[in-house]
Structures are given as C-alpha cells and as structure tokens.
Amino acid sequence: MNYYVIVDVTLRRGIADPEGATIERALPALGFSGVTNVHAGKSFRLDIEAPDETSALKKATALAERLLSNPVIEDSTARLGTRDGE
C-alpha cells in the first residue's frame, strides 16, 4: 500500500548557513525581536508504495540519504505522516 512520508533535510552542524544568518539579520528591521539560531532547511513530501510501515521507512531513509540529501554537508530524517495534519 501507499505511505505518506516526510523527509527533512538540514545542514550539518558546523556547516555555514548563510540563508539562516541572513534571515536572522533581517528580522529586527521587520519588527521581530527575540528570534535566534535561525536555520534554513528543505523538506520533501512523497507517497511510497511498500508492504508495511517499516519497509516504507527503510525505502524513504535510503532515498533521503542517497538522493535527497548530500551527506557531505546535510543530515536527513524520514518520518511517516498523514496527508493533512502530518
């Protein structure tokens, strides 16, 4: 059957994150104070055909590590979700 999977990709600790830094710098001017440690990442939502949850997650994790992220600079996690509400 089909499983709805969400893959989160984030920059590894220690890797520069200019996007997050730029947003953080822009915030005060836009009236947002007290916001720190801003980090930008990517996410992917997809349906995976698999016999059961475990193998769906296994497939998703492989996809996340081999394709959706670049392990040299990024970490990735895959989790099962539901179309709405996640």
Binding site: A16, P18, L67, V72, I73
Partner: protein
C-alpha cells in the same frame, strides 16, 4: 590530434562555448549525450557549465546518476583527464569524484563577474602549463560556488597540493578561497570559474587559454 569529449546533460548550456574554446586550441571536440555509456578514444572529458536537470534538488544531484557518469568514473580511474567547469565541478563532487561540496554563495545571489585567480598548484591537468603564483583574470557565473569541506578534508587537500586555484578576492565565501581543486592523482579537476569565457581580449580576457591549453595537452602528461 587530441579528441575531447564534452558531456551534455539535459539543462547543460555551456557545451557550445567549451566546444568553441577547445577547437580554438587545435583539438577536436565532440558533444557526448548523457545517456551514452562508454566513450571511444577520447583523450579528455569535459563536463561543461549549465544547469543539468535544472539544478533541481541540488546542483549535480540528479546529473550524477546519468548513465554517462559511470563511464566518466572509469575514464578517471584509468587516469584519463577529466575537467568539470562550474556545474561540471558540482556534478563531480556530487558523484564523489572530487571531495567536498559547493554551497550557495555567501551573499545568496547569483554572481556573474570577473575574478582574479592565483595558481596555487601546478600538479594538475588544468594548471600544469601555468606558473605557480601566476594571476589569471577569469569570470565566475554561479549561484552555488562556495566550496565547503570539513577540516580533515581541507588538511589532506593542502597536503597533496590539490588546491590548484584560489580567489584573490573571495567573491562567494568559498572555504580557504578555493576556486579549483584536483583529485590526488591530478587528472580530475573541478573549477567554478569559466576558462572558456576568457579566450580572447575581444571578450575581456585571454587568461583562460593557458588552462585549457594545458588540459588539451594533458593526455601526454598522464599517459
């Protein structure tokens, strides 16, 4: 006569420029479609700039799976000269043929501008005709050109003199001002600047010639 293969992925766009540049140097160059699984009798392979597969996901992330990339890996393993320019460099890192990764520019904008490079190693198929410390004016044209790697990788790059070109005035936040690196053997090189865009003074600079001349002549070197 030297034969250079220029690999074309859907979304590549500098293939004709590279063709023109290489032909000016007396070599013959042919386009190689990404679905091809082996090359016959090429003396060197160039992965040109552009946006292979639209750069979707990450620059080079989808292109690295193209059938042609196995052939490129074999060619490189046999010591064949391989050059990745801009998007080609990004593909080579994604494919693991070169260490590290290329991230978005520090300023988070695309940059098309001339840069001044210094030759920091001549132990590569790209730089062996140039002189150590020589300065070259060559344009960059990229959004994701900030070279990134961990400390250990950087140490080994320096140890094996794999950092072959550095920016004089770092435009994109590249670690250690890195503009081009080679593998340990020196036959696989990736650079973000575009030497094929610096082949004549009519277009602003001819400093790219010495690099591409070296590459075209390099099969002799590695053979």
């Amino acid at each position: 006569m030297t034969r250079i293969g220029v690999v074309v992925f859907p979304g590549s766009n500098c293939e004709y420029d590279v063709l023109a540049g290489v032909s000016q140097l007396g070599a013959t160059a042919e386009l190689v479609w990404h679905s091809q699984t082996d090359f016959n009798g090429f003396d060197g392979i160039i992965l040109p700039g552009g946006f292979a597969h639209g750069d979707y996901l990450r620059p080079g992330a989808l292109a690295r799976f193209s059938p042609v990339m196995d052939a490129v890996a074999r060619f490189a393993a046999d010591g064949g000269p391989v050059l990745g320019i801009c998007n080609g460099f990004q593909i080579l890192t994604e494919a693991g043929l070169l260490p590290g990764a290329l991230q978005k520019n520090r300023g988070l904008t695309f940059l098309c501008q001339p840069t001044t490079l210094t030759v920091t190693s001549t132990d590569s198929v790209l730089t062996h005709h140039a002189a150590l410390g020589q300065e070259l004016v060559i344009p960059i044209n990229h959004f994701s050109g900030a070279y990134t790697c961990d400390d250990e990788t950087l140490r080994s790059l320096e140890e094996h003199r794999q950092i072959v070109l550095r920016y004089l005035d770092n435009p994109n936040g590249s670690r250690d001002d890195i503009a081009a690196i080679a593998n340990i053997a020196g036959n696989v090189v990736g650079l973000m600047p575009h030497p094929e865009r610096a082949m004549s003074n009519l277009l602003g600079s001819a400093d790219g010639r010495i690099l591409l001349e070296g590459f075209v002549a390099s099969n002799v070197l590695v053979a």
